[in-house]
Amino acid sequence: MNPFDRQLADRVRRAFDAYQEEPLADGFATLSEKMRAQDPTAPTIAGRIFAIGIPLAAAASVILAVGLTFWRTTTGPASIDVVPRAQIQSETPAARSTSVEVAVVSQPSAVIQIPDLSSHLLASLPEPETEPEGIGAVPPQPDSVIDETPPAVVFSPANTIRKPDPVRVAPSNRRMAWNRRIEWVAGTVSSWSSDQMANGIGYTAGMVGHMAARQGVRVSVGALVNHNRFVIDTDIDLAARIQTLTEEVGVFSATVPGGVEYDLMSIDLPVHVSVDIAQIRSGTFSLSTGMSAMWFIRQTFRDETLLLNATVTTNTDTGVKQTLIRTSSQTRTESIRSLNRSETAGYVHFAFGFTAHPDRLPIGVDLYAKFPVSDATRRDIVYGMGGITLRYRVR
């Protein structure tokens, strides 16, 4: 640091420390206007009640639906059977053949219960002719199958490696057995703020797994990536602002906030309950509700500002007032990169869907809406979203 730098820095400090500026005559008015101008961007009291009331009611309905579902599952009539009739019929012959096998190897009970060790058992199986009589062995039966069938046949793989017997599953366990389904999901996202529908459309894509809690009722969880891109316009009457600006003779300038473009990417983790409401030949209609946790991984905001410069003069000869208005716009971009800042938000989800019959097409379609239960993003905006999604069954 040379003497010039040191002296200049010292002069800068002293000059600005001693600097005093006359207070602006309209300084407080400008500030007051700015504070009032914040109100339109923030939800009003009525808007907040509207924005919060609906999600609370929705959350209550979700809790009610989940509670009702589990209550019906646990206390429902025992005659309702999860296993389809056709499945039981097809399994019956297999069950019979299994019982035949049990009859064949019914002599040493330990051998029957550990079929995987058949080779060892075959080696250790006492030979009937060398087995000493009366030492824990089963007395020879005149009509015993062992006597008539060679041991190699008894312990053939077909007989020893047996699948679990579905007939032996108790009815209560069958009700708890869940069917599972995994689907790819892709769709559109339209967004709205607390007081207006936003321009712009985004997309959502991911995977959702469905587990049947009982016939016609499913619990779904998954992970999706949402890309919301929308513009929310500021509700400012530009003509009225210009008229106010040009009421008196002079030179005036003003800034008018324009729209804000939001570009948001988030990971959506939904937990939903779906209930089938009607069946037709080609498929099933369903309603679903639940909660979504939204994790924002990228946020970009573009603010448009209109700069107005007005010159108002009066012709001294004619007395006619002339107004010259110059406008220019300014854009500011604020971008928060991935992982620099992440936020979560809660949403209540409602959907009306149609799922094609599995034998016909492995697809489904949903009309959905997500209502916010909290504000989100760095700008603390409260916004909801909705759209249409297509589901494709992969498993």
């Binding site: 003497p3 010039f4 200049l8 600005f16 420390d17 600097y19 602006l24 604020e334």
Partner: protein
């Protein structure tokens, strides 16, 4: 206002910064510790507001670069004492935003390069480099505009 002027590109920009700073002060007045001087607290708000504005606008910064060559001419050191606020602001406005910011934060606010690095999300070495370049450029500007106009 003097703090905002040092960071702003123009007087209108400084007014905006000051307005925003007042707005922040009013809305967060509950965070003010009455045991400490109000001036210090508010000065920090103004600086932070100016920094927020810089972060928002930096994508549109044209990124003007200057040569660091300083002509070998004797400097009128006595003339530095006659610099007024308008002269200094004129010099500052000829600097790229990031140089001016580092210069103000280091020379006037008293931040270290490590702290500036954290504030502006740059390496401390980059902060040092910006400061050196800002000093060189200010010296060149002083010669070109202040000394020549006086001579």
């Amino acid at each position: 206002m003097s703090v905002a002027l040092r960071y702003a590109r123009s007087r209108e920009d400084a007014l905006e910064i000051l307005n925003d700073a007042f707005l922040k002060a009013f809305t967060h007045i509950d965070r003010y510790d009455s045991q400490r001087p109000f001036q210090t607290w508010f000065r920090r708000i103004v600086v932070n507001t100016a920094l927020d504005r810089y972060r928002t606008d930096r994508r549109h910064d044209p990124g003007v670069t200057f040569t660091d060559d300083v002509p070998e001419v004797a400097i009128d050191m006595a003339g530095i004492e006659h610099l007024d606020v308008d002269d200094i602001l004129y010099l500052f406005r000829q600097l790229p935003e990031h140089w001016k910011l580092v210069y103000n934060l280091f020379e006037v606010e008293g931040y270290t390069h490590e702290e500036i690095g954290q504030i502006l999300n740059i390496a401390p070495g980059t902060s040092r480099s910006h400061l050196t370049r800002a000093r060189h450029r200010l010296q060149a500007l002083y010669r070109e505009h202040i000394m020549e106009s006086r001579s």
